[in-house]
Structure formats: structure tokens, C-alpha cells
């Protein structure tokens, strides 16, 4: 599937939430990174077809989505950021309901529910009412519903919120395996969600997006801007007031501090290899969100 978003604008009243957003995606996982309020959810909702853009066009495999909405909807799976399930429904009923919304025949729905419940580890809890599920279980149930129709485009908005570390790893594995011949757009502010699995990443801030690039490209952009410095705890308290720090590791009486900076930030600082998290901090905390 090839998806192009061309010149997307979205206004809520006088507030311009998205400004001239253009993206192109093929198969693979794409990460949409940005802080809260950057416009990620609005962009995701526009792609999912639950919010209309003020201006712009979405082309799917060469066809305008507006002319093929039902066909398009049958090809997507969407996990929104916040979903509260129906209190009276069990997990099984909920999945059956979404399967009927997606138009799956009964036998196909039963097979997919069994398969996905196993994948997201909720098989034993399917007969319980959703209201009794923990936050993580609700999220896993949400992931299962998004995958029910074996979508060609999977849209995930903050999918790992509420998941514990092992569940996050499991989730990443599911997405990776799923994305072999599919498109996945994963919106998050948790860099590690996309660091290892995203084919390309796009940064968003104040409704504007950067070019879609590989993680390596973004990381190369901050080469020479990530430092390790050592200092004692008292100095660190003073130092952190005017520095962007990505990590602190205690080493005896000293602290090993990972710092983002264009210039050498401390007399003890030595340059080190950057990662995607450093890129995120460099763009949003150090440069104040200049994403282009």
C-alpha cells in the first residue's frame, strides 16, 4: 500500500493545528514522534478518516480517499489514544462487536479473535468484562481489535501507554512481524517504541512535520552534539538548570551525565555516539522544536 498525504491543513476555529503536512509511506513501520500537543493525534485521526482536514488530499494506491472511503476503511486498523470500552461487554463480546463493524464473517471473526487474543495474551481474560481489565490489558485488547481485519494500514496512536516493559517488547515484536508487507504508522512520544522497528521517522511540532527520514539520518544530524561529562551531585544540581540532560548514571561519588549540546558543555565532557532519544531531546528540548 502506498499512502500520500498532500498539503494537509487542519484548523479548529482560529487555531491552526496542522500546517501543510505532506508525507508518503510505503510498506514498513513509520514513526511519528513529537511531544504532547504537537498535532500527532490530529494527523493520525485525519489519516484514520475520523477527522476531516480543512485542506489537503490523501491518496491511497493512486486513488483519492474521499472517493473510496468504504474501501479504504475496510483496509485500515486503528488504535486510538483513549478508548474506554463498554462496561457491560466482555473482552470477547467487544472483539466480536468490532469484528462485525469491520464486516468479518462469523467463522473468520472467531478464528481471528482466537489468534489475536493469544498473540496479545488475553485469551484467559476474554470472558471477563472489559471494565475489570487493567490499563495494560485494555491496551492489548485495543491492539487486538485494530488487527482483526488484517489491515493493510495499521494506525497506532500512543499504543504502548500503560504497558509494562515486557508487554512493550512483545508489542514491538507483534508490530514488526505484522509490518512485513503492511504499512504501520506509529505515533508516540516514547522514542524507544520506534527506535528499533521504524523504517523511517517523522518529527512533528506545532503542526509542522520534518521530512520523513531513517533513524540513522536523524542520528547523523546530531553527531558531535551528545556528550558524556562527569561531575559530583552538587555540581549536577547547578548544571542541569541550563543544560539538556538525557541520562544520569551514578558512578561512586561522581555522576556520569549524558548531555545534549552544540558546544562542549563541561570541562570533563567527551563526545559520544548519539541515539534517537538524543535526537528527540535535541530537537524538542534543546532547539525548541525546530523540526525541519
Amino acid at each position: 500500500m502506498k499512502i500520500s498525504m498532500n498539503g494537509i491543513y487542519k484548523n479548529f476555529g482560529k487555531k491552526e493545528v496542522l500546517k501543510d503536512v505532506s508525507l508518503t509511506m510505503g510498506n514498513g513501520v513509520y514513526g511519528l514522534l513529537g511531544p504532547n500537543g504537537a498535532g500527532k493525534t490530529t494527523l493520525i485521526r485525519i489519516l484514520a478518516g475520523v477527522v476531516r482536514p480543512t485542506k489537503g488530499q490523501i491518496i491511497i494506491d493512486g486513488k483519492d480517499r474521499e472517493d473510496n472511503t468504504e474501501l479504504f476503511r475496510s483496509k485500515i486498523g486503528y488504535l486510538p489514544q483513549d478508548v474506554n470500552f463498554y462496561n457491560d461487554f466482555t473482552g470477547l463480546e467487544y472483539l466480536q462487536y468490532v469484528a462485525s463493524l469491520k464486516g468479518l464473517p462469523d467463522h473468520e471473526a472467531a478464528r481471528k479473535i482466537e489468534e489475536l487474543a493469544d498473540k496479545v495474551s488475553i485469551t484467559a481474560d476474554l470472558s471477563r468484562r472489559c471494565v475489570t481489565y487493567s490499563g495494560g490489558m485494555k491496551r492489548r485488547l485495543g491492539i487486538a481489535q485494530a488487527l482483526l481485519n488484517d489491515p493493510e494500514l495499521l494506525i497506532l496512536d500512543e499504543p504502548t501507554a500503560g504497558l509494562d516493559p515486557s508487554e512493550r517488547i512483545k508489542f514491538r515484536n507483534i508490530v514488526s512481524a505484522f509490518s512485513k508487507d503492511k504499512t504501520v504508522l506509529l505515533s508516540t512520544h516514547i522514542v524507544s517504541d520506534v527506535d528499533n522497528i521504524a523504517r523511517e521517522v517523522v518529527m512533528i511540532q506545532d503542526g509542522q512535520v520534518s521530512d520523513m527520514q531513517t533513524s540513522k539520518h536523524f542520528i547523523a544530524g546530531v553527531n558531535g552534539k551528545v556528550w558524556y561529562a562527569t561531575m559530583n551531585a552538587d555540581d549536577l544540581l547547578e548544571f542541569q538548570k541550563h543544560a539538556v540532560i538525557s541520562n544520569v548514571v551514578p558512578m561512586g561519588n561522581e555522576m556520569a551525565v549524558r548531555v545534549i549540546s552544540d558546544i562542549k558543555p563541561h570541562e570533563s565532557a567527551v563526545c559520544t555516539e548519539p541515539n534517537l532519544e538524543d535526537v528527540y531531546l535535541y530537537i524538542y528540548n534543546y532547539k525548541g522544536g525546530k523540526v525541519a
Binding site: 479548529f12 490530529t42 485521526r45 484514520a48 478518516g49 475520523v50 477527522v51 476531516r52 472511503t69 468504504e70 476503511r73 475496510s74 485500515i76 486503528y78 486510538p80 483513549d82 478508548v83 474506554n84 470500552f85 463498554y86 462496561n87 457491560d88 461487554f89 463480546e93 466480536q96 462487536y97 468490532v98 462485525s100 463493524l101 469491520k102 464486516g103 462469523d106 481489535q145 481485519n149
Partner: protein, 398 residues
């Protein structure tokens, strides 16, 4: 069909609504018992009343009329008003009977001579006034007019029905009092509003709109499923209402006496010839139809709003529209008479729709109230359905 079952599960077959329905059934039974018992002040009083009434059932009895008239006037002198007599008669079966027979004599008088309080010049009633009116229209050469058609049909019906006879149908009168007007709106339509208001707003509250609107059937078939679920819910709640009030009214007395009597025994102006039992069945069917149309309107409102409370509030305003318009004065009331005639408060009252003389002039033809109401409600229902369909098509989560 599967979507419909899930929508019904969400709307009706959930713990909250099932508990509400059980509470409503109990409430309806209590209301039925309360009104019928209050009307007679107890089972014994009903037996005494029935004995007195059954003794004079049938055509007008001048001797009984005179006795009842004397008893009524004496009670009225003591208690001041007709309402005072009615109140007192609930504790005194003899007085209740005399009051009922007095009311019957007034009905007989009005059958021949028209209303004792004076004619409404636009709606003549009574055999003699009708004959006189028709004679005047004939003399004026207006035999092709709308009024001539209307009055001749009315006269024909009245003559065919014949002079009213005294019947013992007091329990049915009590029941029809609960099955229409303000009582039906408060006891049936308010709970319906409460139960179905979340049909669409709930999807917004839970965030499920995101998943529904992005799914294959989330903009088309879901509408049919939701409207179907709303209709079934309206039918179920209405049946609970009718069953509860019916059981409550008749169970304490252990009799359905009067079910086979003509409906004119209860609704003296009724132009429809059928038994009280059949009219009760008609009332059930009609009210369910009105409830379904109201359900469709509320579904449309729910699809346009994000708040269940706001949907419920607007539903209540629509239901009480008649009362509100009337409170704005005669000029406004006259100007907006169509809204009053076809508002849900009036159309939910089968006794007013089928049991009165109201008719409408449609291109010079006489169209009875129930035909007009049927057509207008169908139009409202169809518009609401199309509205919901369009609303869902363009619905977003923003």
C-alpha cells in the same frame, strides 16, 4: 443483524437498563393500583358502586337521572365545586355513582343539544345544532363546502351511534387516564428519553467513535443497527408501561368488566365504532408507533450532540413543547397550533387522536385527526432517519 444485536445489547440488554426497566415496571403497577384504588377508595366501594351502576345500565333512565341530579346538587352545594364532589365521591360509592349518572345525563343532553357551556362556532356539536347548521348551509347553497361535508359526516356518525347509554366502565376510564396526555409523557416518554439518549453520545463519551467511524460499517450499516435497537427499546419500554399500568389497574379488582362495551361509554365524542378492549389495543399500537417516531427524533439529536444530558434535555423540551407554547399566550398558541396538535404530548394521547371530533381541512376535504397525525408522524420519522444517516456520514470525533 449481528450489529443490531450488539447495539441492542448496548442500549437495552445491559445491567443499568434492565434494572431501570424492572423499577419502571414496579412504578407502573403502583401508579395503576394507586389511581384505580384512589378512584374508589377501596375494593368494597368498587363492589357497591358496581351493584348500583349495573342496576341502571342501559338507556337513559329519567327517574334515576332525577335522583342522581338531586344527590349531586346537594353534594355540590356542600363542597362548592364539581372537583370537590369528585374528590369526596372517591370515598363514597353512592355519591360516586350519582356523580357518574349525573355526568351521563349531561352527556345525553349534549348529544342532542350540544355543549351546555355553549357552542364553539367553529366546531358545532349535538344532533339538533348540527341539523340546524346543515339546514343553514343548504339554504346558503354551500352544500359543497368543507363545513357541510364535515358536519354531515359528523351527524351521520352521531345518529348511527345513537343516544349514549349508561355503562359501568369506571376502571377503564381510570386506565385511559394513565394511557395518554401528560401521564403518558411523564411515565413513558421521559424514561424512553433517558434510556435512548446515549445511543450515539455514548460512542463519543467512550471514545469508541474513533473505532466505529474508521470501520467499514461505521458510517452506513451502524445507523440501521442503532435505529433498529432504539425502535425495539421503545417497543419494550412501552409494553412494560402498558402491562404495568394495566395489571395495576385491574388486578386489585380481579375483573376486566366493561371490555366489550362500546368505546363511546368512555370517550363520548369518539367517532370510531369499536369496543373498549379493541380501543385499548389500538391505544397500545398507536402509542408504540408514536414512541418509535419520538425515538427516531431523539436518535437524530443524539447523533448531532456529544452530551447525553443535552440530548435528554432537548428531548424533554420537545415533549413539553405543547405546554410551553400554550404558556406563551393565546396569540402564540393560535399561530403555532399545528405544533400543538402534532406535538408528542398530543399525538401520544390516543384518546385525543381517535376519541374526539377534531378534523382538518386538506384541500377542501375532511381529514380526521388520526389520519393527519399518522401522515405527519411518518414524515417526521422518515426525515429523522435520513437525518441520522447523513449525520453519521459526516460525523467526526473532532
Amino acid at each position: 443483524m449481528k450489529l443490531f444485536r450488539f447495539e441492542l445489547r448496548k442500549l437495552l440488554l445491559n445491567k443499568k437498563t434492565l434494572i431501570t426497566s424492572a423499577v419502571l415496571l414496579a412504578l407502573y403497577c403502583v401508579v395503576g393500583v394507586g389511581l384505580s384504588i384512589a378512584s374508589f377508595g377501596g375494593l368494597e366501594n368498587y363492589s357497591v358502586y358496581s351493584e348500583l351502576a349495573n342496576a341502571v345500565t342501559g338507556p337513559y333512565n329519567a327517574e334515576q337521572a332525577e335522583l342522581s341530579n338531586i344527590a349531586y346538587e346537594a353534594a355540590k352545594e356542600r363542597w362548592g365545586t364539581d372537583e370537590g364532589v369528585t374528590k369526596l365521591s372517591s370515598q363514597d360509592p353512592q355519591l360516586k355513582f350519582d356523580k357518574a349518572y349525573y355526568d351521563y345525563t349531561v352527556t345525553v343532553d349534549e348529544y342532542w343539544n350540544g355543549p351546555i357551556l355553549g357552542q364553539d362556532v367553529d366546531n358545532i356539536t349535538g344532533i339538533y345544532p348540527l341539523q340546524q347548521q346543515l339546514a343553514e348551509l343548504t339554504a346558503a347553497g354551500a352544500t359543497g363546502s368543507y363545513d357541510y361535508q364535515r358536519y354531515s359526516a359528523q351527524l351521520e356518525t352521531e345518529l348511527a351511534a345513537g343516544e349514549p347509554e349508561f355503562q359501568n366502565a369506571a376502571l377503564w376510564e381510570s386506565l385511559f387516564g394513565v394511557w395518554g396526555g401528560v401521564m403518558a409523557v411523564i411515565l413513558l416518554f421521559f424514561p424512553i428519553s433517558f434510556i435512548i439518549a446515549p445511543v450515539f453520545t455514548n460512542e463519543n463519551t467512550t471514545g469508541m467513535d474513533n473505532i466505529i467511524l474508521s470501520s467499514k460499517k461505521g458510517q452506513g450499516q451502524i445507523v440501521a443497527a442503532k435505529v433498529g435497537a432504539v425502535s425495539v427499546t421503545c417497543v419494550i419500554i412501552a409494553l412494560i408501561y402498558f402491562a404495568g399500568t394495566f395489571i395495576g389497574t385491574f388486578l386489585p379488582f380481579g375483573t376486566l368488566a366493561g371490555a366489550g362495551l362500546p368505546i363511546r361509554s368512555v370517550l363520548t365524542a369518539s367517532q370510531i365504532s369499536m369496543s373498549i378492549g379493541s380501543f385499548a389495543a389500538l391505544t397500545v399500537v398507536w402509542t408504540i408507533f408514536v414512541a418509535i417516531v419520538y425515538g427516531a427524533v431523539l436518535t437524530l439529536i443524539s447523533s448531532k450532540l456529544k452530551s447525553q444530558a443535552a440530548t435528554f434535555g432537548i428531548g424533554i423540551v420537545i415533549l413539553l413543547g405543547n405546554v410551553m407554547i400554550s404558556a406563551l399566550g393565546t396569540t402564540v398558541e393560535d399561530t403555532l397550533s399545528m405544533l400543538i396538535d402534532f406535538g408528542f404530548m398530543n399525538t401520544a394521547n390516543a384518546s385525543a387522536i381517535f376519541g374526539g371530533l377534531t378534523s382538518f381541512n386538506v384541500f377542501g376535504s375532511v381529514v380526521p385527526y388520526y389520519i393527519m397525525a399518522l401522515v405527519i408522524l411518518l414524515v417526521i420519522g422518515i426525515i429523522a432517519l435520513f437525518g441520522v444517516r447523513i449525520s453519521q456520514k459526516y460525523r467526526t470525533v473532532a
